[in-house]
Symmetry: C2
Subunit: 434 residues, 2 copies
């Protein structure tokens, strides 16, 4: 490939752990990038809040004025600031002035993706964002491109490392949520304000991005049903273990087909029990893994590091090479694909399965009372396990698939039965035949 | 996306299980493809050897004259014939007349990939081949594009289903190779002539393609060291089990860095022991899985169906949408990336590790004789296990990394020691720290 051409000029917004790695890798092997791109890659500036705090960056590149950097002579803007503003304004400004964009900003894409796509489209430039979901794992490009001729039914994955660490630790130690979160904070696995992770906001943004790509439909973070892990108890984990299951925080995007063949999209984040034999059950804290089920391709799994400076930088650089190549050869990457316009289903209508673990009185008729409560709500039972222990008994019920609101109200009715002493655990079940 | 434009005309060469699925999926949801591509997709013809044998194809589309179909008014040629000729001539003809190509032909790409790339380049058209390796698993696009900004160290995978089935069955039943191969033939897991699978030709073609993409270097099938599974014995599998390992036929592509920092590529296919806890150990026969280790991204795994009509069709259609989109928006996919031009290392020089299982006389001094033979060849031992059983003893040695030829000649010397009664198993070890 001929590389005797003008360099591709790159502006970097933000220089934390990811930005530092991007810069290092770009400067480490310039010839490699030139050969792969078809033109040399030149970083024209690095915008940071406090230029004096970045001794690792050549001083001539540093600036506190991100707007001026974006407005300058650059071909590609790489955004690693995170958050909605000023990232959104800066990227819109970049796109509108004909600059391509590479970003790792999941929150921004999950809320304002369409606005960014539209701006890119109008200017005929690219927006790439592989690093926004599951770090280094090449996941968005396969969804956007490799599976473009297939029909995706389901995307289900572990895409948040902090919550995966906390749940794994709770399972290993038997400790409670609050205690384990504190420990995670001390060890650097959880941020000082862990809300985005533990309440599922991070996973919900990623679910919105995945659902949009998988189903050719605009899905925003606010469309995603979201439950975090703060309600997960040692009792839930113990109940899971008893049925050889484990609890994970899952991001689930499903194509739901109703009885009349009408289609909708379900996008949700919640803790769920999955079988211990399920490949997602073994995914350790630093790793992410995503299952994709497609009509023709069948079951696919993508596994790798979900966060961290170098892995995220790998995804950013892959996008940067693609965007730069498009500039060199005159092509364009995929645009927004939202033609399907499927409605997003409310959680209540979404078909799910429940695992319910109860403490009940150990006397005749208890099982039939509980079972008939399920029947009254037209919820069908898949598994029942009753075990006496003195005056009490432990009763575990796993349902077949039903609308989530029907399951929820069934549990409420069951909880009110006088023979039910305690509802020990209520958790959705995923990853097994219904 | 505006779809009021001329259709993208597609010629299909070959219509076996994959072609039939491609045709079915294209005809099933034409609006979907039009929306994703930006133009309607129109199959202009299907070339097969015996048009009268294809009642599933609309008769107006069928032709026995592939050359005429390729020469006609088409934009994209999809080749699913397999083998070198006439596929090679037909695709060169297509590319030279400005038609883009989508192919699943691993043998052709592994031998004549550069010639095809060059023809595509000269005409400014695309050649895509995701389906050539690991069926439905999006693997080549991530290697070619997502990881384009990273530095790949290693690609290691199970990419042949037939051999994976036979090894799994041998392990489960204790039966020998010949017997299990016969059974696999009866059950449809092995072809009437199984040579391409069991002798590793299929896996070697795939290794050549993977190594070329991963290391930006031309690697052909003949560069790949190839050992099939016909030499694997129940004794090998038993020896593996004793150390909690399992035997898999692996395609391995490595960047090898010598003491002076000089780089070369090792591409090889051979049976190897991997730990039972390694994710590849659990990959069942119908599935393929590929591990990728990259400098920044770390460890990635891709898993899915490696063969079959529908999964392969999914990969072909993904490529078809990409190629068609490039036609519509005026872009180009990645070209050949062979700038690194690394030498391919002969197998003898490649660093590997051996597992050697011996029957030895159970008397003093045996271990020291065996150990000093390894030392004489400057091969360092990692694990030794000796277990007496009457007059004999079982001695297992696992080495540290050494040049493959040094390991091989060590084993030859050990076999000649009078105290060594039998060499039960010799197998390379992969997937664990050296």
């Amino acid at each position: 490939m001929n590389v005797n051409r003008e360099p591709i000029r790159v502006a970097l917004l933000g220089c934390g752990t990811v930005g530092t790695e991007v810069l290092r890798l770009l400067q480490d092997q310039p010839e490699e990038f030139a050969a792969r791109t078809g033109a040399p890659m030149q970083v024209t500036g690095v915008a940071v809040r406090r230029p004096d705090k970045h001794p690792e960056v050549p001083p001539g590149l540093l600036t506190a004025d991100a707007s001026a950097l974006v407005d300058g002579d650059v071909d590609v803007v790489v955004e690693l600031i995170g958050g909605i503003e000023p990232a959104r304004s800066l990227l819109l400004r970049a796109l509108r002035s004909g600059k391509s964009v590479v970003t790792a900003n999941k929150a921004l894409l999950a809320e304002h993706g369409s606005e960014l796509y539209a701006a890119a489209d109008e200017a005929g430039v690219d927006i790439y964002f592989e690093a926004a979901v599951a770090g280094a794992i090449p996941l968005l490009r396969p969804l956007r491109e490799s599976l473009a001729g297939d029909r995706i039914h389901r995307v289900m994955g572990i895409v948040n490392g902090t919550t995966n660490y906390i749940l794994s630790e709770m399972d290993a130690t038997g400790a409670g949520y609050a205690e384990t979160l504190d420990e995670a904070g001390r060890l650097g696995y959880a941020e000082a304000d862990p809300t985005a992770d533990v309440d599922g906001f991070d996973a919900a943004s990623k679910a919105a991005i995945l659902a949009s790509l998988a189903f050719h439909t605009r899905v925003t973070a606010s469309d995603v049903h979201r439950e975090g892990i703060s309600g997960v108890t040692p009792g839930d984990l113990a109940a899971a273990r008893q049925l050889d299951r484990t609890v994970k925080l899952l991001s689930i995007c499903e194509r739901v087909v109703d009885e009349d063949g009408g289609e909708s999209v379900s996008a949700r984040v919640h803790p769920a029990m999955i079988p211990s034999t399920h490949p997602l059950a073994r995914v350790g804290d630093a790793y992410n893994a995503v299952f994709v089920e497609a009509e023709a391709a069948g079951e696919l799994m993508f596994y790798g590091r979900g966060a961290g400076g170098a892995p995220t930088a790998s995804a950013v650089l892959g996008d940067l090479v693609a965007v730069a190549r498009n500039r060199v050869v005159g092509g364009r990457g995929p645009r927004e694909s939202a033609h399907a316009k499927l409605p997003v289903q409310p959680m209540g209508k979404t078909p799910t399965r429940y695992h319910v673990s109860l403490d009940v009185a150990d006397k005749p008729g208890v099982l039939s009372q509980v079972a008939s409560t399920f029947t009254d709500h037209e919820v069908s039972i898949s598994v029942v396990r009753q075990q006496g222990r003195g005056a009490d008994a432990s009763l575990v019920v796993v349902t077949h698939t039903a609308a989530d609101e029907a399951l929820r109200s069934t549990v409420e009715s069951v909880a009110r039965l006088p023979v039910v002493r305690d509802v020990v655990s209520v958790m959705r079940v995923e990853g097994e035949p219904s």
